[in-house]
């Protein structure tokens, strides 16, 4: 059920991440494990922005970190530009990190409070020997200008900046090692509404200017629509749908995607008044004890007997659309991938 792609820069193959669940007062014993990411196949193509959406606890942030090997996958492989990351030595892996960076959700806690922001941005260059102490200042100043900050602020500390400015610093730091691939983990969700657009525009402009490839992890579907070329939807550790963005927003196939889109309100009174809404029932079940069959079936308005018993696989439908849902079992499979 892989999604092989000749043009993939990053590819996750049968990726699985489990977290141990410990119990006991004196002697902590592993009593179970949570599958945060369960057998995920995903390819991010060179130069594209792939949106990864889902609700909290669906495993999207864990998947982003596992792809960067910031969390060791329990099973499966990540191929980065043809290299299997799990086969690399620790030193080789650290060298590889130059090309794959991350932008973090919380601009307040992802910067060391005791380093000036200039030092923070210079750090990746120094770690990878891209510059020495001498010319790093000039490069940092350039990066500051690139992300829309005044280079004179280099000597200040993170607490002197607002949230939006800190996120610009985080972006400059991610760019410092001249990466090819950046995982953006909810990069605007901690920011004020009026600032979000500034950062979204910046990320968009940088991708074009520097030819970056993004994995854009977010829960806000409107932002994902704005910033991504394709969208993957995750539910309880699994990918349930992948499609080019305009198709997924115009004609979502999976009932979960439909519900997500329908639940998200649109800031337009006239449009809201006309909308038809389909609501899911209840809450997301605990990933400790996921439902049998299709994981959505207890909440799904369209569930039938097969859904309760058989887990649907991610299948390719027409063109670039992939869906994991029994409703489309009879749909013809066309196109090659």
């Amino acid at each position: 059920m892989a999604e092989p792609d000749d043009n993939a820069l990053v590819e996750a193959r049968n990726l699985r991440v489990e977290f141990p669940v410990l119990s006991g007062l004196l002697r902590r014993k592993q009593v179970a494990s949570v599958r945060a990411v369960d057998d995920v196949n995903l390819a991010v193509r060179r130069g594209e922005a792939l949106g990864l959406v889902g609700e909290s606890g669906c495993g999207k942030s864990t998947l982003g970190r596992a792809i960067l090997h910031l969390i060791r996958p329990t099973a499966g492989t990540v191929l980065f530009d043809g290299h299997a990351l799990d086969t690399l030595s620790e030193v080789a892996m650290r060298r590889h990190r130059r090309r794959m960076q991350m932008i973090f959700q919380d601009p307040y806690s992802s910067l060391n409070p005791r380093m000036t922001v200039g030092e923070a941005v210079a750090e990746p260059m120094l770690v990878h020997g891209l510059s020495d102490e001498g010319d790093s200042q000039e490069k940092v100043a350039d990066l500051f200008r690139t992300v829309g900050l005044d280079p004179r602020m280099m000597t200040r500390y993170p607490h002197e900046f607002s949230g939006g400015q800190r996120q610009r610093i985080g972006i400059a730091r991610a760019l410092a090692s001249e990466p090819d691939f950046i995982v953006c983990d909810e990069p605007v969700s901690a920011l004020d509404v009026s600032i979000q657009a500034q950062i979204i525009n910046l990320l968009e402009r940088l991708r074009g200017a520097l030819g970056l490839t993004y994995l854009f992890v977010a829960h806000d579907l409107a932002i994902v629509r704005h910033l991504s070329d394709r969208v993957a939807v995750m539910y309880l550790g699994q990918i349930v749908e992948i499609a080019p963005k305009d198709e997924i927003y115009a004609r979502p196939l999976h009932p979960y995607t439909q519900a997500l889109l329908s639940a998200a309100p649109i800031p337009d009174r006239a449009v809201e008044a006309r909308r038809q809404r389909t609501l899911l029932q209840g809450e997301i079940p605990s990933p400790l004890n996921p439902p049998t069959g299709c994981r959505l079936h207890p909440r799904c308005p369209k569930a039938h007997a097969t859904c309760r018993a058989v887990e649907p696989k991610l299948r390719q439908l027409d063109g670039q659309r992939w869906v994991a849902c029994h409703l489309y079992d009879d749909a013809p499979t066309t196109g090659g991938g």
């Binding site: 990190r97 750090e123 770690v127 900050l149 000597t155 002197e160 607002s162 500034q198």
Partner: protein, 299 residues
């Protein structure tokens, strides 16, 4: 570029280093600034002892034994006719020396061991933590007295005994901090750019674990001064003819009925120093607590 350059910082504070803001914050704390002044004065006294003391601490005036205050001897003389003021001025050196060196030694050992425990985890951590737990069973003063007795008298053994106990506290603090800090997003961010674990420990974890250590150091100096006094009082610390506050207190105690100043002044000095270091510790704790730093209400 089409975008605005966000040139205005969130807070128009000048580019002040964290250390400078810390000193300023402690200065604003009323009790801590009193403590800072007292400690500064005591340090000055210790440094300038030869200039400040009217007599040598060993010079005996056998015609004036156990005299009360007089124009020649402001605080009087001791049982062998030495000038009490001069002995206490020189004693400041010993007391501060024991306080500072004893504390730095325990902090150096404690921070190193705590870092290893916190960073390595697993069995190493478990063993180190059980050892520090074992130390918790002893009352500190009794332990240090017993150690001093075992090691024999002398100032270096006082310092050693203090450090032998004191490192456990620092190790516990730093280990807890490491466990806390290493889960913070900026440590993950450091990993994500490809930094080695050692460099992350040095650049990102250690500097951010030091705040409670700084507080503990200031309080520990006071404690070490108290311990030196106690040990010397019992005759195990500094040996005659060297002067220390505790030694003077002990000798003076014998004559408390005839020459009360002989024991009261060293006692007051010990109390003053211990309280001053504790005030500084309190001030540092408040200054380092981000919740008390310009906390603002929610929207």
């Amino acid at each position: 570029m089409s975008e605005v350059v966000g040139a205005t910082p969130a807070r128009p504070a000048a580019g002040r280093s964290p250390l400078m803001s810390l000193v300023l914050a402690v200065g604003r704390h009323r009790l801590a600034s009193v403590g800072l002044v007292v400690v500064a004065l005591l340090s000055l006294v210790a440094l300038l002892a030869p200039l400040l003391a009217p007599y040598s601490p060993y010079e005996q005036d056998l015609y004036n034994v156990l005299s009360g205050p007089s124009p020649a001897h402001w605080l009087g003389t001791d049982n062998v006719g030495r000038d009490l003021l001069s002995r206490l001025i020189y004693g400041t050196r010993i007391s501060l020396f024991v306080g500072i060196v004893g504390t730095l030694l325990s902090a150096a050992v404690g921070v190193t061991v705590g870092l290893i425990a916190g960073a390595r985890g697993g069995l190493v951590d478990a063993i180190i933590m059980r050892i520090t737990d074992a130390f918790l069973c002893f009352p500190p003063l009794i332990f240090i007295l017993a150690m001093s007795a075992a090691l024999g008298p002398g100032i270096h053994n006082v310092i050693l005994s203090f450090a032998l106990f004191g490192w456990t506290g620092f190790a516990r603090i730093i280990r807890g901090q490491v466990l806390l800090v290493r889960e913070l997003p900026y440590v993950e961010a450091a990993r994500s750019i490809g930094m080695s674990p050692l460099r992350i420990m040095w650049r990102h974890i250690l500097p951010n674990t030091l705040a409670p250590i700084i507080v503990a150091v200031s309080i520990s100096i006071g404690l070490a001064i108290l311990v030196e006094s106690g040990v010397s009082f019992l005759g195990l610390g500094v040996q005659p003819p060297t002067a220390s506050w505790g030694k003077e207190l002990r000798v003076g105690f014998t004559y408390i009925e005839t020459v009360p100043l002989f024991s009261i002044v060293p006692g007051l000095l010990i109390a003053l120093a211990v309280i001053a270091f504790n005030f500084i510790g309190d001030g540092l704790r408040d200054a380092l607590d981000p919740r008390l730093r310009g906390a603002m209400g929610r929207s």
